[in-house]
């Protein structure tokens, strides 16, 4: 521990000192709505130095006093230039003017590529254009078009980043952890694109301010609410609709409320009426979900701001079979609530601080109920399995900008977790059973972290982000402590070429136990305990970047990575928490799974122009090994995708008409299937499995196209748009899950590949008030 403190102390030593200098500090905002802009460039033209705004739009740049030209730029906004004689420290809010909706995206002058290796930030406007299921813009699904990120399978929840499990992604919404990222079994992500301002994705070289997960960080920021003018948006689709309302409350406060609702009721309305009136129905599914975002932002003065945001999502699924007074219902519902209260303060020209209280709650419930009538008595048998995780935490950090070449961040976080891995209730013949049959009692744990991050540019061509994170988890009478060193470097070879390297160690204290079956995933969150140690990972990555073409509008990037996991957990073969409801989850898992993931990612991007977009290709391998699984031999992880190709093209035909298309190809995911059949000693036919994940389901590929027609409404001249498109243009039957028929000793086995989403046209109408 003492050694760790020495290292942190060393890292915190200022490497330069400056004299007779002035500092310009403040925020960069959108002129239209006063939203702070994240990662905007503030550039000192004559000294060829610059800084980027932080997650809260704050910047601080120090330079010698005198006449200077300051240029501020941000993608999708007109550059701002300030020429002034700077004689003393000054606070300044730079309000950038956005490019009008129908303007072709113009080049972004003076933007220096300060992105670390493994970092992805695609502008929300660009992500929103990528066509998705039923025309619903989906930010997380759109991210799967970028290298190294893939969706598990069509209809599966979560993202797989560089061969990792979905639970290894830290998803933060306004700093609160979001445990569930999927609606409708994964067909749509839970984030309403209308309410989201920015998504930063770190796939490697994680800054030390982030921790607690092994694979990636998705740092999502909600819009703050327009404090200039009230406005509303309404979008109506076939199955889903959404709305947004934002505006000022007085001079210093603004708000935002956004919501989405989807209901499949209309699709099967006659059948649902029959169900409600007690008619005979066989396996009628119903699904609906909603999500709602709300945020209030109060600006006390130029130096301090208070934010309160709350977010809730909920999914409900039920499958009903009923006949002659008997019924059989299977239900699944899950939902999250997150909330954060944050206070931002500019303490001085160089010191920025923030403190947040965050709350997160996730609940998953699987229920089954069957009723029948026996001698005029209604008999009910049911079970109800619930998994909940509840966090309340405090996060504080300080950011000190010593100079344009040196910024330090230090922070402290403490989170209380309350986890109920698998609470079970059983009713047998109308009698509620003793729930002590299930031993998965609630677990209380505390996770803490102290981090230090140094952004240093010791040489004009070299930039470093070096730091460390000390994290710990206390659970029952056990405490795990860990030091996680982090390093990201960038070497600028010249204005066109650059090299990047990253190194990171991560520790994860919370896990998601994922069933390995071929059907519906049944995943529960659990914590490290005295029996189950936390998981660890070490990642090394490197990248090469090249800009070329007129105005450097083309960019080519190549990144490679190698990641080693230890102490992962998995179910024992043949086990899962539902079929073994009378066992404690800690007794039906394998704890010493190790993993290896490596790969190369390529991306060719045309950043602006009438025709823009990108081509990405990832070649990746992800494997796991445990002495207790697959006879100790390495096997491909469920998230192994050898080849991933994505093409995204946007074309602005006229100011009114724009077109977009996307194509994605992925190698099929590994699945455990029988290789052969044979007769056993009793003459029964049995199946032979040569190993875990020994087969691959068919490859996945799909082409989507979309068109948008923007116009003004005739009477009130409101901005409106028609969105029209086709999902899965060539009607590819992509695999969703496998269905088994036959095979009970005498009949031939048949494996059917179920595809759920055929070619699907969509349209929606959007109007802004």
């Amino acid at each position: 521990m003492l050694r760790i403190i020495y290292i942190l102390a060393f890292l915190s030593l200022p490497v330069f000192s400056f004299a007779q200098k002035v500092t310009l500090y403040g925020r960069v905002t959108d002129e239209d709505n006063d939203e702070s802009l994240i990662n905007a460039n503030v550039f000192l033209v004559n000294e060829n130095k610059g800084v980027q705004t932080n997650q809260y739009g704050y910047f601080s740049i120090t330079f010698y006093s005198g006449k200077h030209e300051i240029k501020c730029s941000y993608s999708g906004y007109k550059p701002f230039i300030l020429k002034k004689d700077f004689l003393k420290d000054s606070i300044f809010t730079i309000a950038l003017e956005s490019i009008q909706l129908n303007e072709v995206i113009v080049k972004n002058e003076s933007i220096k590529d300060d992105k670390p290796v493994g970092f992805t930030n695609v502008p929300i406007q660009q992500l929103k254009k990528i066509p998705m299921v039923l025309g619903e813009a989906d930010l997380l699904k759109a991210l799967t078009m970028t290298p190294g990120i893939s969706a598990g399978q069509e209809g599966s929840a979560g993202l797989n980043v560089r061969g990792s499990n979905p639970d290894q992604n830290l998803v933060l919404l306004d700093e609160a952890t979001v445990y569930n990222t999927s609606h409708a079994f994964g067909y749509l992500s839970v984030f309403n694109p209308d309410a989201i301002k920015n998504i930063d994705v770190y796939k490697g070289a994680f800054p030390s301010r982030f921790g607690g997960r092994l694979a990636s960080v998705l740092d999502i920021t909600m819009k703050e609410g327009n404090n200039q003018a009230s406005r509303a948006e309404l979008s109506l689709g076939i199955l889903s609709s959404r709305f947004l309302k934002e505006g000022p409350i007085g001079d210093k406060t603004s708000y935002l409320v956004a919501g989405r609702l989807m209901n499949t009721l209309l699709l099967q309305l006659p059948t649902h009426i029959k169900t409600l009136t007690g008619g005979s129905v066989d396996g009628v599914p119903s699904l609906w979900f909603y999500d709602i975002n709300a945020k209030i932002n109060h600006k006390f003065d130029d130096n301090s701001q208070l934010f309160f945001s709350i977010y809730s999502n909920y999914d409900y699924y039920k499958n009903v079979t009923q006949a002659s007074g008997n019924s059989n219902n299977v239900g699944l519902n899950w939902g999250s609530i997150t909330s954060s209260l944050r206070y931002n303060k500019i303490f001085s020209n160089k010191l920025f601080g923030k403190a947040s209280v965050v709350y997160s709650n996730f609940k998953y419930q699987l229920a089954s109920e069957s009723t029948y009538t026996k001698i005029n008595e209604k008999i009910t048998n049911s079970y109800d399995l619930t998994n909940t995780i509840r966090d309340i935490g405090i996060k504080t950090s300080l950011e000190y900008a010593h100079s344009p070449s040196f910024t330090q961040r230090i922070g402290l976080e403490h989170t209380f977790h309350l986890i109920a891995p698998g609470q079970l209730e059983i009713t047998k013949d109308n009698v509620k059973q003793d729930v002590s049959i299930n031993q998965n009692v609630r677990i209380f744990s505390q996770e803490s972290a102290l981090f230090l991050e140094n952004e240093i540019a010791p040489l004009s061509f070299l930039k470093l982000n070096i730091g460390g994170r000390v994290s710990s988890l206390s659970v029952n009478n056990t405490t795990y402590t860990n030091f996680e060193p982090r390093l990201a470097t960038k070497i600028t070879l010249n204005s066109k070429h650059g090299l990047k390297f990253g190194y990171a160690q991560m520790q994860q204290y919370l896990h998601q136990l994922t069933s390995n079956g071929i059907g519906i995933p049944n995943d529960i969150w659990v914590t490290a305990t005295e029996k189950v140690p936390p998981s660890r990972a070490i990642q090394i990555d490197a990248g090469y970047y090249l800009s070329f073409g007129k105005d450097s509008q083309w960019e080519l990037s190549v990144e490679t990575y190698r990641k080693k996991f230890t102490q992962l957990i998995d179910y024992q073969q043949g086990s899962d928490v539902v079929t073994e409801f009378n066992a404690n989850w800690q007794d039906i898992i394998v704890k010493n799974v190790q993993g290896l993931a490596y790969g190369a990612e390529f991306m060719l991007q045309k950043k602006y122009g009438k025709l823009n977009g990108w081509l990405s290709y990832t070649n990746a391998v992800s494997q796991r090994q445990s002495p207790e699984i697959n006879k100790g031999e390495w096997y491909y992880a469920r998230y192994d995708r050898r080849h991933n190709v994505a093409v995204v093209l946007n074309y602005q035909l006229t100011p009114k008409w724009s077109f977009t298309s996307s194509f994605v190809y992925q190698t099929g995911y590994p699945v455990t299937l029988p290789e052969a059949a044979y007769k056993d000693s009793d003459g029964y036919v049995r199946l032979y499995y040569s190993g875990r994940n020994n087969f691959r389901i068919s490859d996945f590929h799909r082409l989507d196209i979309g068109a948008t027609y923007n116009f003004k409404t005739k009477k009130r001249q409101r901005d409106a748009a028609w969105n029209l498109g086709i999902y899965n243009v060539y009607n590819r039957k992509n695999p969703n899950y496998l269905e088994i028929d036959g095979f009970y000793n005498s009949s031939q086995l048949s494996i059917k590949q179920q595809s759920l989403l055929p070619i699907l046209p969509y349209f929606s109408y959007q109007v802004k008030f």
Partner: protein, 332 residues
């Protein structure tokens, strides 16, 4: 450049494409996922070696998981050799579908292994298996003067059978079984193990279901495939184990087991002979039973399949050894 007329045409074209797509989207079928060939042929070796019985060995083929069953599932040209305590006791010869040696009987307290070569396919051998010693069942008594309070099933003519057997080393579990006969020699089943009762025994550490052979009136081994409840050795903490079984002398009768499906019928006369048998279950059999009771195949969409246990080096299947001890009770 892009006038109103062109714009209208474009819009009409898009709508047409939209509706055409909608009509196609209604047609969605399943695709077959076919595994019709095997990457490498494997030999299946199955044998249940029972003390005092002739060895009967199955040498089988494998075929693609989704392929049609082959006409013959066994190899005709296998070279099968039986070893007792690592010494060869001779080759076995194909009769019908099994390899046998009618001149040899399996001996208790001996370790057996089998080696098989199939030309152009390969070689497999079983791990050695021990045939447990004799004299397992110590006593078996019955009592018909009892009243049944509740056994879960309707018992018309109760008969409580008490069996005591020895706990042996190297035996993983014991299956205690009753087979009843009436004057007509009809085989009649129906009993309730009072210790296990109707308890769910899947994944129980102390009990499991097995498909051990049954013993007929002549002491021959039958292959009646009824799940029988077995006691796991590690849960027996005394040198002897007493088991109580409730039989119904007026139980239903069943057709001859070899006829499939088995049919139940009312018997004209009650049971007057009961064979009480105890069958040893080896650790291999226990592992096999456990693996089968786990999710083998696709009974659960939630869990990954569990591989079926095998003790065949280089192949599939199981070779296991039994000893059977029984007593006949004549009911008065």
């Amino acid at each position: 450049m892009f006038d109103k007329k062109k714009e209208t045409s474009l819009l009409q074209g898009l709508w047409l494409f939209f509706w055409a797509s909608l009509s196609i989207s209604c047609d969605n079928t399943l695709n077959n996922f076919e595994i019709n060939t095997v990457a490498k042929p494997l030999i299946v070796l199955n044998a249940r070696l029972v003390a005092r019985q002739t060895p009967r060995v199955y040498v089988g083929k494998i075929w693609g998981a989704t392929a049609q069953f082959p006409v013959e599932t066994f190899y005709r040209n296998a070279d099968v050799e039986l070893f007792a305590d690592e010494k060869s006791v001779g080759k076995l010869f194909l009769k019908d579908t099994l390899y046998i040696n009618p001149n040899y009987t399996i001996k208790s307290s001996v370790k057996y292994s089998i080696k098989v070569t199939v030309p152009n396919i390969g070689f497999v051998e079983s791990e050695p298996v021990l045939i447990p010693p004799d004299g397992l069942l110590i006593s078996a008594t019955y009592d018909t003067k009892i009243t049944v309070e509740s056994t879960g099933n309707t018992v018309r003519n109760p008969c409580l059978v008490t069996a005591v057997f020895k706990k042996l080393s190297d035996v993983a579990a014991y299956s205690v079984d009753l087979i009843g006969y009436n004057d007509e020699g009809q085989l009649i089943c129906g009993y309730n193990n009072l210790e296990i009762g109707g308890r769910t025994i899947v994944k129980s550490p102390c009990f499991f279901e097995t498909e051990t052979p049954y013993i007929d009136l002549l002491g021959n081994i039958g292959s009646f495939k009824f799940g029988k409840q077995a006691f796991v050795s590690k849960c027996i903490d005394t040198p002897e184990k007493e088991v109580k079984l409730m039989a119904d002398l007026n139980s239903y009768g069943f057709t001859v087991p070899s006829l499939d499906p088995i049919k139940r019928f009312e018997i004209p006369n009650p049971i007057n002979k009961i064979i009480v048998s105890v069958v040893t279950i080896s650790k291999e059999e226990l592992e096999l039973a456990k693996s089968i009771q786990l999710v083998e195949g696709f009974t659960s969409a939630l869990s990954e399949p569990y591989p079926t246990y095998s003790n065949i080096k280089g192949g599939l299947g199981i070779v296991t050894g039994y000893n059977v001890s029984y007593k006949i009770l004549y009911i008065k």
